[in-house]
Symmetry: C2
Subunit: 309 residues, 2 copies
């Protein structure tokens, strides 16, 4: 086994070429490619899939362009509340955090929960106390401030409405980032991170930190990271559903992803997409929206960096 | 369609007859039967499965014998933090809450999240604010105080250890309650509620509020409520796994439950059990522990109230 593959996403939604400037498109593609390269390099050097997905997601979190980490949207209270999860396919070990504030890289905190705690899922103040005990990097509110995000919040503040990142008034996008990878040792992993919905009530937990809903990895089948209308992804148990269709119905990866995104999720009214890699290194994107910020690359496949359908 | 069925559990674990007094056994059985009868009566009068599972779980929450609601164990901070979820099989609508304090009936709050909010999952202070806006019943800390629970906490306080309810020193039990039902209209529903682990770090989220892990309902397959070592139930996506085995591999209910509890969950090291009902009204218990507080009854089946294997 010496094949390796990686895929990432930076959110899905109504991302239309006509509403995108050339500069903006270039900035997005550069950010996607930079994150992709970081993960690819780890895998090429025989590093682990868990290391590759963590590093890739960290770089997406560090970019102000994506709704995760630094680029997180504003909650109804004008704060930034972040969720993340990570899972490794060999052991089915997993870690997740929700409602954390001021953490530079939520995905790394999720990994620490997986590796250094007795729990799978820590939320709120409890997660913050754990982060401090692990000496995680914290950042002041100013680090997460972004004029564009602030304006998004001002536009709908006090309306009682929530907004799925750039939704409606801008370029309707479900803001989440994620990565999936297969390493040369035959192990898959998945990581997902998000800043949630603009003007959301604090305390709302979406699908990103929920193992089986927004994130899942299993060496017998695949690794999956989702982005979309989180409530529907929870009710559809979307990430694990892809794995079950492969394990129980012998679907191949693309078939399983398309069945879930285009049929089962659609049926309950959910919008969004996912990225996935199977244990043979096959890579897949599937989304029922206009676009999805995405990229992939593998030892047996060409590099792709794309935005539109 | 005029068949109806209900099953409930009050936790699984090392529940041995030799460590139980006759009085204690009687008290447990009476509490189980009372909750069962309440749900059964609703179903018999053509009420909905959602109403039946909510009412049944409310009565278990109101009993000091079970680790949920009034009987919730103490956290490391000497507080009571509760999780709950509910799901209806017709619409796949779901509601969940986590880390709520001083709420008399967490399952009813989960139902309000399902029916009166835009979200599926609310946690912590955000869930408390929502509860207040919905005029939920709150109770003072004293309501949740129980000498036995307090002693459990004192025994392991400051040791850094957590305890799955009566674990090790007492009768090792995973404290969770739950109910599943099929109503005469052909709809299934599931509800689960827990006080978590004694001396747990605050912020730990278990499987009970996680749709797909500790609770799931789908009219095409079944309704499931779990109890056990929550971290393993999350990693195994246990409740949805039962549904997938039925939908994708055509397993019958008992076969699907046993495959998940005795093989797939065991393989990753998880202990516990579940109750389930399928869309034909068949009822099942499955657990890999010494016992599980449980009861079931249906229009076509006898009443069972049991504790040991």
């Amino acid at each position: 086994m010496s094949k390796f593959s990686i895929a990432l996403h930076g959110g899905a939604g109504t991302i239309l070429k006509q509403s995108m400037t050339a500069d903006k498109e270039k900035a997005y593609k550069e950010a996607l490619e930079k994150a992709l390269l970081a993960g690819y390099t780890i895998l090429e050097k025989k590093g682990s899939a868990v290391d590759a997905v963590e590093k890739t997601v960290m770089l997406l979190e560090d970019s102000p362009l994506f709704n995760a980490g630094k680029g997180s949207v504003f909650t109804a209270e004008g704060k930034h509340e972040m969720d993340a999860s990570i899972m490794e396919g060999r052991t089915l070990n997993a870690g997740a955090i929700s409602m954390v504030k001021n953490i530079k890289n939520p995905v790394s905190l999720a990994r620490l929960v997986m590796e250094k705690s007795d729990h799978v899922f820590l939320a709120g103040e409890g997660a913050a106390i754990f982060a401090k005990s692990m000496k995680c990097e914290f950042r002041e509110d100013a680090y997460f401030y972004d004029e564009f995000r602030y304006q998004q919040w001002q536009d709908i503040k006090n309306t009682g409405k929530t907004q799925l990142d750039h939704s409606v008034t801008k370029d309707e996008k479900f803001g989440t980032v994620g990565a999936v990878a297969l390493d040369v040792h035959g192990n898959v992993a998945a990581a997902t991170s998000t800043g949630g919905m603009t003007n959301k009530s604090f305390g709302r937990v979406g699908d990103s930190p929920m193992i089986g809903a927004g994130n899942y990895a299993n060496n017998n089948t695949c690794a999956v990271s989702c982005t979309g209308s989180g409530e529907f992804f929870i009710r559809g148990v979307v990430a694990y559903d892809v794995s079950c269709l492969m394990e129980y119905k012998n679907f191949i990866l693309q078939q399983a992803c398309d069945e879930v995104i285009h049929h089962r999720l659609k049926k309950i009214g959910g919008d969004g997409g996912l990225i996935a890699v199977d244990s043979q290194g096959n890579l897949t994107f599937s989304f029922n929206t206009e676009g999805m910020y995405r990229a992939c690359w593998g030892s047996e496949s060409d590099k792709i960096v794309a935005i539109y359908k």
